[in-house]
Amino acid sequence: MAIFQKAYQGYAGPLSPPMSRTLVIFRYALADVFQSRLFVAFFFVCLLLSVLLMCFIYVYHNLELLLQFEVVPEELMAIDGTFFAFTMQLPQNGLLFLMILAIGPTMISPDIRNNAMPLYLSRPINKSSYILGKLLVLVFLGSLISWLPGLLLFFLQAYLGGGDWLGNNLQIPVASMATSLTWIISLSLLAFAVSARVNSKAVARIVFFGLLMLGSILGEVIEEVFGGWGGYIVNVFAALEVLTTALYNADPDVLGFVPKMPVEIAVMQFFFLVVMTLLILTRRIRAFQVVS
């Protein structure tokens, strides 16, 4: 063969399936997350909530134990959607926020800062695979501390409660999954968008925290000055409370302060947040970078 014919030729062999390429990013990002011992400790502390609730449900249905603790069973709160929303979903939302605050804003910025994007995207990985791979880490870890233990608790209660409890409360597993996944995905994408805009991990975390804190306070102030629910549009926590209450069919008086905002608006809020963050991410994640 003539030497001029030995030029560069792209790989023409078989490619691995697209999902397995995405899972490579997921695997490495997951390994990075678990390098922090502090995060590992936090993660296991998050699981304690479900263990405590499991013990509570067991004791709730154990008459002998209740009598030993001198508790009258009739005085206990009924286990229904309100119970699951109040004791499980609301604390889990807080834990998910802390988890995403700890790892979300640090996932994209190192790749952009160190000019690694061209290396990723020159392989058969596109922007959506990259974002999905990173997102799967937070969805996986978030699911482990939110709706997966929620399902376990639901089936435990259904088994111990017996009768028609399962049939009467079928909205609970759907609500747990929908609320947790909505919260995880929207917060994670927001964290990624911040991470893609800010080069430093520390600053990205502060910006993410500041954005949510500011939105929350700003929403309260707008509601106080102008009245109505318009102010809650910038408060993502208010949208989450509305969504949780609606999906669990929970009693708003028991849950405390729930904004009187239509659930459709709350859904639109999350949708808008996701679209905006995806737009920012697709603009920032590029196969070429200007190295200064």
Binding site: S200, F209, G210, M213, I217, I222, E224
Partner: protein
Amino acid sequence: MNTGEFVADNVKAPMLTPGLSLWFRQLLAIFRIEFGKALISRRAFACYALAALPVLIFAIAAFELDEQGEPPFESIERARQIYGYIFSSLILGAVIFLGSASIFTTLFRGEILDRSIHYYLLTPVRREILVTAKFLAGLASAFVLFGLCTLICFLLLYLPFGMEQLISDITSGIAIQQLGLYLGITLLACMGYGSVFMATGLLFRNPLIPIMVVASWELIHFILPPALKVFSIIFYLKGLLPIPLDEGPLAVIVSPPPVWVSIVGMFGLSIVTVLGTIFLLKRLEVKYTDE
């Protein structure tokens, strides 16, 4: 000594004789650099955006109608109450807090992240001068930004009522007294939060942790027992507000501290934390690879 030697000595050490004059010149030089960096840089954009938020709300509230079709500023008394609420919750609780966190954390932690702190540490400047100059520059820039925000919002309050009301309030002294108090609180808040965030910026590698801890503590201060309330900055600042605010049914009511206690408390906190920062900076060993 001949003339040549005398000139050579001055060239080697130009006006570096230790003393107040030198320290003051060094302080001014660092102040100028840091003040410029705090107000005119890409990082300062976030603070400008923060400061613009209350101004935007007041500008809208001056012309908008609420859900009952009434203007939110239906009377000047109501407008003053709304101003007090927005000042304590938004300006004090979010804008000054987050703005101070951004400005003062950047003073040292930002330099370490930018890998430029060694330029300061290699100059023949006492660490005390460096910390004081940086703190004063941060304080001045924060006060210029957030003081201006407070002032503009206060003036926007009078927009629906016209110049007559403003002149009447100025001549009767109400406007001057209230504006003075709000600006004073702004200065004390920048001082208190700023000194804390400057110290924590040097103490913690991840500045989010102290910011979150302080934010949570300030957020729950209203339900804290009186013995713990004294350890929050907002307790002293809210005591100075010209219009006392209702903090909700869960609030633990205590009498606000005397004005002099609030002022001395903020100055004391600033001095202690600045001294702490000097102590930390004297023992600072920069390893950029660890960041």
